[in-house]
Symmetry: C2
């Protein structure tokens, strides 16, 4: 069994209305120092595999096909644990 | 200016219907090796501050109050860059 994290973030230049709403709420809560907030996804995947290399390739495929929208999002895959 | 990442994840034991839906879709795409998917948030925050210690405290406060729901979510704050 293998654990991986996939970080999905909006590409630079893509507007993030959710992040802007959170920023405004933080200002209302008196956290004036907050200059920018961007919200992405943090996806934890457990895979039945022991080979890091092939798992990484497979996870990149999954990200391209389903986990991220390659038009407006970037992703980064990280293998965190192999049992 | 200081950059921080906040990782918000569902607590263990809390059901994740979104993650289950993604897992099923990955099985349909022939990734049968996927055993579990949990979906959380990855929040990037830019703060006007130079003091790591106080920024970390502030970000933990923000997470408790707004970024995470402490009843069902855990969070982890990480300072990534100080300019």
């Amino acid at each position: 069994m293998l654990k991986a994290n996939v970080y999905v973030t909006l590409k630079e230049g893509v507007l993030d209305p959710q992040g802007d709403a959170v920023k405004k709420s933080l200002h209302v809560l008196e956290y004036q120092g907050v200059k920018e907030v961007r919200i992405g996804k943090f996806i934890e995947v457990c895979l039945e595999s022991k080979d890091k290399e092939s798992a990484l390739r497979e996870l990149e495929e999954m990200s391209d096909k389903l986990l991220a929208n390659p038009v407006m999002e970037d992703y980064r895959v990280e293998i965190v644990e192999v049992e």
